[in-house]
């Protein structure tokens, strides 16, 4: 793949996150041998291209009291899965929604919808609403609660790889 070398260096410089100083882009610029304005301009260009999805906080659900985090999964008729995914994904309760391949026999589910709540009861209530919405197209479902974060880092580029 072709990540331009200057883009790669910028991504690497941002990997630990923005520094907590009044002029964070100037701090990055110093590390990169660029000007503050150049860093801001390059980050803006990457954001415009969609390479940067957003700039801000990644919160830890658990520490916010959202201790019940369920990955609800559904075996939905392929003929209507996309249409139903659109509707499920638009619900306020669903933070992420994806269509994925099944892995039979261990994994019959093709629609994934993340649900969060302060308790599992709250998540289960949200799940019931999804079940109702999916109706007859749904042939089975499960919900997988996360019980531990084993690792959480951002993108890590291999040093020096091109």
């Amino acid at each position: 793949m072709s990540i331009a070398p200057e883009t790669r260096r910028l991504i690497e410089a941002c990997q630990a996150g923005l520094p907590f100083v009044p002029r964070p882009y100037a701090a990055l610029a110093e590390d990169l041998g660029l000007s503050e304005a150049e860093v801001i301009e390059r980050l803006g260009a990457l954001k415009a291209k969609g390479v940067i999805r957003r700039i801000g906080i990644a919160p830890n659900h658990y520490k916010l009291g959202m201790v019940a985090n369920g990955m609800s999964v559904w075996d939905v008729d392929d003929a209507v899965a996309e249409e139903l995914g659109q509707r499920i994904g638009a619900l306020d309760d669903v933070t992420h929604c994806y269509l994925r391949p099944r892995a039979l026999p261990i994994w019959p589910y093709n629609l994934f919808a993340m649900l969060h709540g302060e308790t599992r009861d709250e998540v289960e209530r949200k799940r019931v609403r999804l079940r109702e919405m999916l109706g007859d197209a749904c042939r089975g479902s499960d919900i997988l609660y996360s019980t531990a974060i084993l690792k959480k880092t951002g993108l890590r580029l291999k040093k020096g790889a091109a």
Binding site: R54, I57, V94, L144, L150, G154, L155
Partner: protein, 149 residues
């Protein structure tokens, strides 16, 4: 740490849209009715307490030609710690969650190329002796970010 109302407002307001300008904390603070030093201090405290896992730009590897893939392994309970260490040792593993299912370890591979996913998953299979089930997204029903604090 106990979050107060101001911390929660910061979390709700700054999951995206952090300004690209010389004094971004000052600009963001102004919209929240805070001053720059207080916003920086609160963000730093929340980052140190782990309430914020990361603060900054979030890169989409797919937009750069790279790839993400959700994967899962059915890990025998008595080998969980050992397998966890082996999986997490791969830099391609961006995050990893323990979940309630026979497939009890779910992780995301992030690589710079499409082909990198298969290579990394195969290497994890070789390192663990366990099947790495691969669940690439076929379609994302994307609606944005809105974790309410």
């Amino acid at each position: 740490m106990t979050l107060d109302e101001t911390d929660r407002r910061i979390i709700n307001a700054l999951q995206g849209g952090f300004p690209l300008e010389a004094r971004p904390y000052a600009a963001a603070a102004a919209t929240l009715g805070l001053d720059e030093a207080e916003l920086i201090a609160r963000l730093q405290a929340m980052r140190e307490a782990g309430v914020i896992t990361r603060f900054g730009p979030f890169f989409d590897v797919a937009a750069m030609g790279g790839a993400f893939c959700l994967c899962a392994i059915a890990v025998p309970e008595d080998r969980f710690d050992e397998i966890c260490a082996a999986v997490n040792a791969f830099p391609e593993v961006a995050h990893n969650y323990r979940r309630t299912h026979e497939l009890n370890m779910w992780f995301v591979l992030a690589t710079e190329t499409e082909a990198g996913i298969g290579t990394a998953a195969d290497a994890i299979e070789a390192a663990t002796g366990l099947t790495v089930y691969r669940f690439p997204k076929l379609k994302e029903f994307f609606v944005g970010f809105r974790v309410a604090a």
